[in-house]
Symmetry: C2
Subunit: 342 residues, 2 copies
DNA sequence: ACTAAAAATACAATCGATTGTATTTTATTT
DNA sequence: AAATAAAATACAATCGATTGTATTTTTAGT
């Protein structure tokens, strides 16, 4: 029993042309108010609902925006998605959420599938493997606007909604320094992602400001999964020298390191202070609780969606690329309560 | 620069009718193999891609399945979604994921929006407020198959993919009993959801098996958020009697209770043992680590999707409703290491 | 080789909304 | 009241694939 009322049914019922009905329903100025009222009333009476599929075909687009994230189980991304959905729904858009699972191949497939489904626009937070942007350029070629949020790449003329990774990396590192740490390691991610590059630059800048020499061997790169954090912690121990602080570019790797170090008998924060990044819920619960950088996923999601929809609606006109940079906050917890020993 | 190759272009290029092209591309037996080969080759050559929107309109359905979960930030749901996407993509379906955020009103809107977008089917894990099923019945009325996974309601003739909540509740409670607990409280959720009803029944059955009297005042109902867990723990303390075990119907409330009890000076598990439900990642990290029931979201997601797609593809034929019940596993950690005091 | 049956292909309508152009109706001006 | 402009509505094509029916071509049987 599908609801079969079409604009033609309304047209027949009112002895009016379907095109007028269509325009009335879209509130076109070409239809007199009197007529609009009649049509709306009838539509209501018959329980008319626009057939989205027909509309999509004719307009060759949809009211759906695509979202590609590495994985939705990360708190940052799930809260970003909440923000995206909130804003999108308010403006009458649907959201398709997909996970790349950090795989470039999957990301490519997702983009292709989104194009095939004629999404109106795409929000992307790229995978760790994304060093080649051809699939994203394809979107642009097909006239589908997209923008990066959080994890971005350098593509000319593209909009971004980001946090200030440099400043955040700086803050995290300086926090360790002000707590007395001087031998500070950094867990970084793939440098193809600007966020990790910028966090690392912030780390370095903080060291420099406080006249601590930058030691490349203390910067460990990985994919920042829990096992990577463990592995990195292990490497630090085998350096066989005093390390009194770690700034990890995400919480997950920080927690991996904490687990490993605890087992290895390293006391946190007495022997070594640690700061993570993202403020995953788990950070507040682990013992000691993890000092971290809070980035409001919800806010980023909302802003990114608003910006994307603005671009979608501006249609043909060329849109100025825009980059929003949001503030973060350092949340000081127990893991960084290092007390300098003389 | 959109890719504009249509079946008509192929038809013209090959001097053949568009209907034959369409049938060939859909591998219809009505087209000779020789012709199919020619058409496929030409399609490849010209880079033809089916216009999904047109196909959707004509067929009055899409290759999209809708998923409604209470919130994607819960590990169980995000892993279920991973399973859903995996299976759906394999079979050429897209997935729209939406969160009800435990609100019936939102759930209603989501269902309406999915119907408007002609999803091919829907997977639902209902909100805590869902006591009225009219919106779901509407789906059925419109010929859109749907099934429940995890959180289900009693609707005749509907399929479900569930875990054995009764057995799991029984196991969790018996685990506490075998560890020496005798005064065991239970944190339960809204009884409109079968899962909470069944977990509570399992709890009661375990007590009965071990000849422990069932005390209704030890069963506390809430929405099982972290604050609810705290609140419930507080209530237990004000009972002013010895409670030596808690079986919480989810991890989040168990963790809320742990936090509260720790602050109140109750030692876990020495004074009180606790078991949660779901195996959220946080359960492994909190101290003491939380004993819980592991339910494989990924497996549930895969199974649910497979079953739904089977129903979608069976078209007109009446489908036998089917209920799959998956096994769970108790993961014994530190929070339940109670030692009975004489 | 001829006919009947089967296979392959063509024709044409359709899904429902949108939109450029044409026509009719209404309002305005002299 | 006639002429013109402006507003409102109707006409008709279109988006691209699908599908029931009709027609043509091929195959098989005698």
């Amino acid at each position: 029993m599908q609801n079969n009322v079409t604009i033609h049914d309304l047209a027949t019922a009112l002895n009016i042309d379907a095109s007028t009905v269509s325009r009335a329903l879209n509130d076109s100025p070409r239809v007199a108010q009197r007529t609009k009222d009649k049509i709306l009333a009838k539509a209501d009476e018959l329980g008319y609902q626009r057939n989205v599929l027909a509309s999509n075909l004719r307009k060759n687009t949809t009211n759906t925006i695509g979202v590609i994230v590495p994985r939705i189980s990360r708190h940052f991304f799930s809260s970003a998605i909440a923000g995206i959905e909130e804003t999108a729904f308010q403006l009458g858009y649907n959201v398709i959420i997909c996970q790349s699972l950090e795989s470039l191949e999957r990301e490519r497939n997702l983009v292709a599938s989104m194009m095939a489904n004629r999404v109106a626009g795409v929000l992307v937070s790229v995978s760790m493997e994304t060093t080649n942007y051809a699939h994203l350029q394809l979107l642009k070629k097909n006239g589908i606007p997209f923008l990066f949020f959080d994890r971005h790449c350098e593509i000319d003329g593209n909009s971004n909604v980001l946090i200030d990774d440099f400043q955040s990396g700086f803050d995290a590192t300086e926090h360790l320094i002000l707590n007395g740490c001087t031998q500070i390691a950094h867990f970084s991610g793939p440098q193809s992602l600007k966020i990790y590059e910028n966090r690392a630059r912030g780390y370095r800048a903080a060291l420099e400001k406080h006249h601590i020499s930058y030691q490349p061997e203390l910067v460990l790169q990985s994919r920042l999964m829990e096992e990577d954090g463990m592995e990195s912690a292990k490497k630090l121990l085998t350096l066989n020298r005093r390390i009194d602080g770690v700034f990890a570019a995400n919480d997950v790797s920080a927690i991996g390191a904490m687990k490993y170090l605890k087992k290895a008998g390293v006391k946190i924060p007495d022997d070594l202070a640690i700061v993570g990044f993202s403020n995953e819920p788990i950070a507040a619960v682990i013992e000691p609780s993890l000092t971290t950088i809070d980035q409001s996923g919800h806010e980023i999601g909302k802003r990114a969606t608003a910006l994307l929809l603005q671009q979608i609606k501006s249609e043909e006109q060329v849109v100025q690329p825009e980059t929003l940079v949001l503030k973060t906050a350092l949340i000081a917890r127990d893991s960084s309560k290092y007390v300098k020993k003389e």
